[in-house]
């Protein structure tokens, strides 16, 4: 299965996903509460050290953070032009911290570990009648069908190209929708026929 996380194991891979999410949540909230520039520098230092300590591939990381980096640079430039260089530093330091820690988490955590973490996080929802096992099954179903849908898009685009309709979004989306919904109906019947009880 294709995913952003690295194939090789780093020390951060061995840290449980829940712990990494907790660190991200705490650090992400804390960095927005501090104003002191030395404290902000500490957060940025920590956020830079984490991906470095795991030897994350620079090129792949840059690809993930590029749009956010451009936006952060533009926001910093805006604040400098408005004559508030201190706001520029605070805003870019906070956003850089959060983005770097988040990308580190994504590169060092398998999707399966994250899905498990989501299932655990969904446990308290039992009170509202939401079964965490159903949450896990729904996510697994979606992951399973992504390659199927990718293939379907390729197939439909080929067929519409033959009709000279490759540039027409609606000519691709309509058959894609109908076939997906048909597939969903069959799948729901198949699950029901096996006696899966969702209630």
């Amino acid at each position: 299965m294709f995913e952003i996380s690295l194939a090789r194991i780093t020390w951060l891979h061995r840290v449980p996903a829940g712990v990494k999410l907790l660190v991200l949540a705490v650090a992400g909230a804390a960095v927005f509460l501090v104003d002191d520039q030395r404290a902000l520098a500490g957060f940025v230092g920590f956020a830079v050290l984490m991906p470095l300590s795991a030897w994350l591939p620079l090129k792949a990381v840059l690809k993930q953070i590029f749009p956010a980096a451009i936006l952060i640079a533009a926001l910093a430039a805006f604040h400098v032009v408005m004559g508030e260089p201190e706001t520029a530093i605070a805003v870019s330091a906070r956003l850089a911290t959060v983005i770097l820690l988040a990308v580190t988490l994504t590169f060092t955590t398998r999707v399966s570990a994250m899905v498990d973490a989501i299932e655990v996080a969904a446990r308290p929802l039992k009170v509202f009648g939401i079964d965490p096992a159903k949450v896990g099954l729904t996510l697994s179903l979606a992951i399973r069908f992504i390659p199927v849908l990718f293939a379907l898009v390729g197939e439909i685009r080929e067929a519409q190209k033959a009709r000279g309709l490759e540039g027409n979004v609606i000519a691709v989306v309509m058959p894609l929708l109908v076939r997906t919904l048909k597939m969903a109906d069959d799948l729901a019947d198949a699950i029901a026929a096996r006696g899966y009880d969702a209630e």
């Binding site: 999410l21 936006l71 805006f78 179903l141 992504i146 979004v169 729901a188 969702a198």
Partner: protein
């Protein structure tokens, strides 16, 4: 949550991921190209209705957060929701729900105009309602500047709402899902 709810949400989330494969459409006179993937919000609400549409977007965003590179350009990860534009990404979930809610209300007299209103309120109104204050607060630029900066995307989003409306109306004729 019934088996059908789960299956429709899961397959529609996968479909939204697949929409990311379609090339960007550059519309003459628009500052930013339109991407087919963001059409997913309006399609989810417009085709599946409120509950299943909102669930589909929730599943899609959960997969992105879990680290699948599903967003256009092969991006993903939890950072998408924490950056300056995180509010827009999160807004897709209630956006699909609200678009679907209006589609259900308009169902018996669904035409291009009512479907367009539903898509625009959910897919643009709700999404910006979360995205703009988030951007303003996180980037410390204030509501007005955040709103002004987001205006560049409005024309493209209106075209998407029109496309979403056309699809919602055609789907009602060929494969109606509401009330199913």
């Amino acid at each position: 949550m019934t088996v059908k709810d789960m299956v429709y949400a899961a397959l529609f989330a996968a479909l939204t991921a697949a929409l990311g494969l379609l090339p960007m459409v550059a519309v003459p006179g628009l500052p930013v190209p339109i991407h087919a993937q963001s059409l997913g919000v309006m399609l989810a609400g417009g085709v599946l209705g409120a509950k299943r549409g909102g669930l589909a977007m929730l599943v899609f965003m959960a997969l992105v957060a879990a680290g699948l590179p599903l967003l256009s350009g092969g991006r993903g990860g939890i950072g998408i929701f924490l950056g300056p534009t995180g509010g827009f990404a999160l807004g897709y979930i209630p956006g699909a729900f609200i678009a679907g809610w209006f589609i259900e209300r308009f169902w018996s007299r669904l035409n291009f105009v009512t479907a367009f209103i539903a898509c625009a309120i959910g897919g643009i109104g709700v999404v910006y309602l979360l995205g703009i204050p988030w951007l303003g607060a996180v980037a410390k630029i204030g509501l007005v500047k955040a709103a002004t900066g987001s205006m560049a995307f409005i024309p493209g989003d209106l075209i998407k709402a029109a496309l979403g409306a056309i699809v919602a109306v055609s789907m009602k004729k060929s494969y109606p899902m509401i009330g199913k």
